[in-house]
């Protein structure tokens, strides 16, 4: 099912949760809404679901107006952040709920309900937990129950609100792959809300980066990581080092010194030079425009990073740079920095 969000605005009192947001989600896609808390991503998801109504704008499912339909009638599967399993029902009854509340012609006979629930429990690999209650399950198992319950109503749209937020790192990784696999098996369009960039980049076909109620960039995981459209996206996705620069007469300056870097079309005025730490090389201080003093060197896993305090900049600026293996850096050493890849944005 294609989902069209057109010019949606939503305010909570004076706070604009969504500011004229437009987005198209194609049939069968898995899209991640990625952003920090307060960016409006959950509000957008809840508006698509029908749990929240926009102040203005449109939501269309396959071209048809969805706002005139309540959440009951939209037939969307919603997986809640803390699962919201029915605590007084066992796993089987939780999954069966969506089938049991049907009325009239849609009502299934008991045998059909049992068959469908068992099939779903098998699909999410928790057949053996059918008699348990939510309180007796681990986080990962609850997540699977929530998913099976949402899938019971055969939704064409699956909406997931921070589905892995409450799980520990190892289970999270495992479930992530499994969810991706499940999405490919089912005829469903999925929208996932997350604040975890790794999750979004690994899972999604397309990533929608949101900040302050607006969409900053929509693109494939590769695009948003390698080619961030705005400084916000660069900051939010991946690690970023930032230098406060200035563009004067088409050249880039840092603290009054010409850097010899391409201003990338940014107009004259203050600018921010952004780069990934692993795209910055250490160089001979006398031969590079950016130089500074090593404050400390930290090792985590296979990488080593140096905190470098820059010379000549206004105010203390500390950046991280990758230290090649085999190079010893004592704190206090003067080093030069050479960004191999970088982006320049007007500040």
């Amino acid at each position: 099912m294609t989902i069209d969000v057109v010019g949606v605005t939503k305010r909570f009192k004076t706070f604009a949760a969504l500011d004229n947001v437009s987005l198209t989600i194609r049939t069968g896609e898995l899209v991640a809404l990625l952003g920090p808390s307060g960016s409006g991503k959950t509000t957008l998801l809840r508006i698509i679901a029908g749990l929240e109504w926009p102040d203005s704008g449109e939501v269309r499912f396959d071209g048809e107006d969805a706002l005139s339909r309540s959440v009951r009638e939209r037939n969307v599967g919603f997986v809640f952040q803390h699962y919201a399993l029915f605590r007084h029902m066992n796993v089987f009854e939780n999954v069966a709920f969506g089938l049991r509340v049907r009325r009239g012609a849609d009502k299934l006979p008991e045998a059909a309900i049992r068959a469908k629930v068992n099939e779903l429990l098998h699909l999410v690999q928790i057949d053996w937990l059918a008699e348990r209650y939510p309180a007796q399950l681990s986080g990962g198992q609850r997540q699977r129950v929530a998913l099976a319950r949402a899938l019971a109503i055969s939704p064409k749209v699956l909406l997931l609100d921070e589905p892995f937020g409450a799980l520990d790192a190892k289970v999270r990784k495992e479930l992530r792959r499994w969810l991706r696999h499940l999405h490919e098996e089912l005829p469903v369009t999925s929208v996932l809300v997350t604040h975890d960039q790794e999750e979004a980049l690994e899972l999604a076909d397309r990533v929608v980066v949101m900040g302050h109620g607006k969409i900053e960039q929509v693109g494939s995981p590769g695009e948003v990581y390698d080619n961030p459209a705005t400084a916000f996206v660069h900051d939010f996705i991946g690690e970023t080092i930032a230098l406060p620069g200035e563009v004067k007469g088409g050249a880039l300056y840092l603290g009054g010194r010409a850097l010899g870097l391409d201003p990338q079309g940014v107009a004259d005025g203050p600018a921010r030079i952004l780069a990934r730490p692993h795209d910055v090389d250490l160089a001979d201080p006398s031969a590079s425009a950016i130089s500074g003093k090593v404050l400390s060197v930290r090792t985590f896993g296979p990488t080593r990073r140096a905190d470098v305090q820059l010379n000549g900049s206004s105010g203390p600026v500390v950046v991280e740079a990758a230290v090649p293996h085999g190079q010893d850096l004592a704190p206090g050493t003067e080093v030069g920095l050479k960004p191999r890849r970088y982006k320049v944005f007007a500040a």
């Binding site: 749990l51 009951r72 969307v76 809640f80 919201a84 029915f86 009325r103 949402a150 896993g301 293996h325």
Partner: protein
């Protein structure tokens, strides 16, 4: 790639060689301290405090309870039963049961509605409503009774209207029920509000997103989630409704066999020096208290279990 492997290999080896002795050291420290309870008071102080507490409870709660039953059975079984089957006593018991039944059902419905709206929705005046629900706890029951007399009595605000339609409220069943409802008003709502607030609205949203109607959501999700707390509130409400004296005393008029509830009947019997009969009826209320206590303990256990 090679360089990376070397780095990580080095880190692991380093961590392992250092981590092992420190872990051993820690478990050693734990072992020597284990088994020594963190308590500072000497044994004597603990015993004295426990004895004082037990003596206090025995003197002020245990002894009166025993006395009630002792006085009731002073003249033997026959006198006890005779006191209970006396027409006035039976009428009082019947009236008390009717009043409690109506008040409990009324406050059950009100408590559910109030707790549901307060916990699941935002609306203006919410804080005021929560405060208002607590009012009966802070107002003397006698004042509550008096308010109803001033409203519905023969000199009251609605007197002319009530007379015209020949409706009797004060010195009749409706007045007693009204006063009892007022006094027992907060029990169910107070029990449900915090629980419902804690449970939030996520399960209801889930139910509706799965296609359930509002009513179906209420009966399949909301109500089962609070059933033990609801029962607990009803239990306390019932105990208070049957035992209420002050408010009912003001509005009842003390008509024997007609508007006397059990507490009022006990007082009358006592004032007429019919001690055995008085304590016999009182023993029923005491028995109710004991049953309530046991049921309350069971329910608290169930509530704690659900909380896990």
């Amino acid at each position: 790639m090679n360089a990376l492997d070397q780095t990580s290999g080095h880190t692991v080896a380093h961590g392992a060689s250092e981590g092992l002795p420190s872990a051993l050291e820690q478990s050693h420290t734990y072992a020597t301290h284990r088994g020594r309870p963190v308590r500072t008071e000497p044994r004597a102080v603990r015993i004295v405090l426990t004895v004082i507490a037990l003596a206090f409870v025995g003197l002020f709660i245990g002894l009166p309870l025993v006395t009630v039953f002792y006085e009731a059975f002073k003249r033997g079984w026959q006198a006890y039963v005779a006191a209970l089957v006396a027409p006035d006593a039976l009428a009082a018991i019947q009236l008390t049961l009717i009043v409690a039944a109506i008040s409990v059902v009324a406050n059950l419905l009100f408590g559910l509605v109030a707790a549901w709206s307060i916990a699941k929705f935002e609306f203006p005046g919410k804080t005021f409503l929560i405060t208002l629900i607590d009012l009966p706890f802070s107002v003397s029951p006698v004042v509550a009774g008096l308010v109803y007399v001033l409203l519905f009595g023969s000199q009251g605000l609605f007197a002319a209207y009530l007379q015209a339609w020949d409706i009797k409220i004060i010195f009749a069943l409706p007045g007693i029920v009204l006063a009892t409802i007022f006094v027992t008003f907060p029990f169910v709502a107070r029990e449900l509000i915090p629980l419902m607030q804690e449970q939030g609205t996520a399960e209801e949203e889930a139910a509706i997103s799965l296609g359930a109607s509002g009513l179906s959501t209420f009966f399949r999700v909301t109500l089962p989630n609070v059933k033990w707390a609801l029962l607990y509130g009803v239990l306390l409400c019932n105990a208070r409704a049957m035992g209420e004296f002050g408010a009912v005393s003001v509005v009842s008029g003390h008509v024997r066999g007609l508007t006397n509830t059990m507490p009022l009947h006990i007082e009358i019997l006592y004032n007429e020096y019919q001690f055995v009969a008085s304590f016999a009826v009182a023993s029923l209320l005491a028995l109710l208290a004991l049953v309530t206590l046991i049921a309350k303990t069971i329910l608290e256990h169930r509530l704690a279990e659900e909380d896990r």
